[in-house]
């Protein structure tokens, strides 16, 4: 194992362990929402657990995986060491320290504010400072990756970045643009308020800043998954990438469109003018387009693979794909779940219809298909692929690895379909007691909350299998010469001259312009209004 592989692996391990802890909590939550009276069940425990689950899954598991994967791409695709290894390790320890601080605040019951930490819910300062450190760590990571890319460029003047690096650069740019919002929220509003330096906080301003960050956050999760879909999956399927330029275009569109859409999370908020919400609605429908292109290009790559394996009919290529390979099946099944999630997303994004699903269980059904499956299952599949190759150990418990993605798939279908339906019936998300104190209206959804709990059981089993495979591999996998980490080739050779799609500076400038159009006026107008601050609350 080279020192750089150790760097990537360290990140993957933090990510995997965070996932394991969060999955155990999730199981308890799913049972609680089905009204199963567990001995330790209480509102306090439930919300503590949902906070820990949301933070560990959405912010820690994802971020550490992405950081580690970024280093894999930089070192293995560019074929050179990380330009600033000291900085990279500093990034790791900073992010880890932040995570541990925030986790301690949550687990000790002093930060039960859910992963969105909306004020006026107030947490212990350690929670906000920990979150800030996690972000600072990720910024240092971004600098290390950019420095590595620059060093590569010096030796390869005039060449376009290899596609996987192109995708990771887009990820870094989206992240840097996005985190400005949350950094402002945490540093300017929440930390001083939680320390008692300011008495009140403006919840609407905080929500604007949070969702300025919150939507591009989902693309920070998703773009590395797309990198895997475009540059790893076709090869795992035994084929080639259908189109390299289309993939480049997709990543560029995400740079431009990821951020100026945040009001689609605030359709129900007062204080944001309807016209601006509508602008964000249109931009949101714009950003569905690159995902549709991705669905097409990646599926076409799989069709190429099936045909290279001898398929000739309209759809028989599907049967020729390596469904027994855990990397392939994880990623392919994650894409199917994402397709279902796309349908729900189109409803969420519709300005009027959002009112039907807002803050209902539908939302939780939705994002477990997207971040909880498209992203999480892809990352799990990538761990089966990367951990043996980085650590030089053979994958242990291969049978469990083979069936694990299918358990996730089935579990998630039960969980998310049930939650979409109960959401339409009016069941809220973020409640620990689905019976509403025995109300009649609540009795109609009991069958479905049971189905959701069955889904939770399957998901928990799947997560358990994944953890067993990973820990078994890490501790006991037989040592051997690691296989190479290889990337998919495009069907047509890549044009050696960079095109407009490789001009990152230009597209970033365009993104900033669009952000200014979408946010400058609403923010300015908000600051002109009489504002009413709120003191902090902690219900538990």
């Amino acid at each position: 194992m080279t020192p750089l592989d150790r760097l990537s692996l360290a990140h993957l391990w933090v990510s995997i362990l965070a996932f394991g802890a969060a999955a155990a909590m999730a199981f308890m939550q799913a049972l609680s929402r089905a009204n199963l009276d567990l001995p330790w069940r209480s509102a306090k425990m439930y919300y503590l657990s949902v906070t820990a689950h949301g933070v560990l899954m959405a912010l820690v598991f994802t971020t550490f995986f992405i950081m580690g994967f970024g280093y894999v791409v930089a070192t293995r695709v560019l074929g050179r060491p990380v330009a600033a290894p000291r900085l990279a390790w500093t990034a790791f320890w900073t992010a880890l320290a932040g995570t541990l601080g925030a986790a301690a605040a949550i687990l000790s019951g002093r930060a039960t504010v859910l992963y969105t930490f909306y004020p006026p819910l107030r947490a212990h300062p350690a929670f906000y400072i920990g979150a800030a450190l996690l972000i600072v760590g990720s910024w240092l990571w971004a600098i290390a990756l950019l420095a590595t890319y620059r060093a590569w460029r010096r030796d390869h003047a005039g060449e376009p970045a290899p596609l996987a690096m192109h995708g990771m650069l887009a990820t870094v740019i989206v992240w840097l643009l996005a985190t400005v919002g949350v950094a402002a929220e945490v540093v300017l509003l929440l930390i001083p308020w939680s320390l008692g330096w300011t008495r009140t906080v403006d919840p609407i301003l905080a929500r604007m800043l949070f969702w300025y960050f919150g939507h591009p956050l989902v693309y920070f999760w998703l773009l590395p998954a797309y990198v895997i879909w475009y540059t790893v999956l076709p090869r795992a399927a035994g084929g080639k990438l259908f189109s390299d330029p289309l993939a480049r275009l997709v990543f560029i569109l995400f740079i431009v469109l990821s951020t100026p859409v945040g009001f689609h999370h605030q359709f129900m908020d007062p204080g944001v003018p309807a016209g601006w919400k509508l602008l964000h609605t249109f931009l949101t429908f714009g950003i569905l387009f690159p995902s549709l292109v991705t669905a097409f290009t990646v599926t076409a790559s799989l069709e190429v693979a099936g045909r290279m394996r001898g398929a000739t009919g309209l759809l028989d290529w599907l049967g020729k794909l390596p469904w027994g390979d855990p990397l392939f099946s994880s990623v392919a099944l994650s894409m199917i779940l994402f397709a279902v999630g796309g349908f729900g997303g189109a409803i969420n994004a519709s300005f009027g219809m959002n009112a039907v699903v807002h803050n209902t269980a539908w939302i939780q059904g939705h994002f477990h298909l997207t971040v909880g499956s498209a992203v999480a299952l892809t990352f799990m599949g990538a761990c089966y692929w990367l951990v043996p190759r980085l650590s030089g150990r053979d994958l242990e418990l291969k049978l469990l690895a083979k069936v694990q993605p299918y358990f996730w798939f089935l579990g998630m279908l039960c969980f998310s379909i049930a939650n979409h339906l109960t959401g339409l019936m009016g069941m809220p998300r973020r409640i620990y007691d689905a019976s509403y104190g025995g109300s009649a209206a609540a009795s109609q959804w009991f069958g479905l909350t049971g189905l959701s709990a069955v889904g939770g059981l399957l998901l928990f089993t799947s997560a358990g299998f994944f953890m067993l495979v990973m820990i078994g591999t890490g501790l006991a996998g037989p040592k051997r010469e690691p296989e190479a980490i290889e990337w998919a080739e495009p069907l047509q050779p890549v044009d050696p001259k960079p095109s407009l799609l490789d001009r990152f500076g230009l597209w970033t400038a365009l993104a900033i312009l669009l952000i200014a159009i979408a946010y400058a006026y609403p923010l300015w107008a908000h600051l002109q209004m009489p504002r009413f601050g709120s003191p902090g609350y902690s219900p538990f």
Binding site: T299, E303, M308, T312, I347, G352, M353, A355, V356
Partner: protein, 46 residues
């Protein structure tokens, strides 16, 4: 892996069928929720 000439890969007809079908389902689902849930409950439209 069988490394032949790029077979009939220029035109991914299976993919076009699948993605087309998906598009139709997506639109049908959207309209279903719009008419059968949103408007039926008295949605807010101008």
């Amino acid at each position: 892996m069988t490394q032949g000439k790029p077979l009939d890969t220029e035109h991914p007809k299976g993919t076009l069928v699948l993605i087309g079908l998906y598009g139709l389902l997506l639109a049908a689902g959207w309209f279903a929720i719009y008419f059968l849930v949103y408007l039926r409950r008295g949605g807010v439209t101008p």
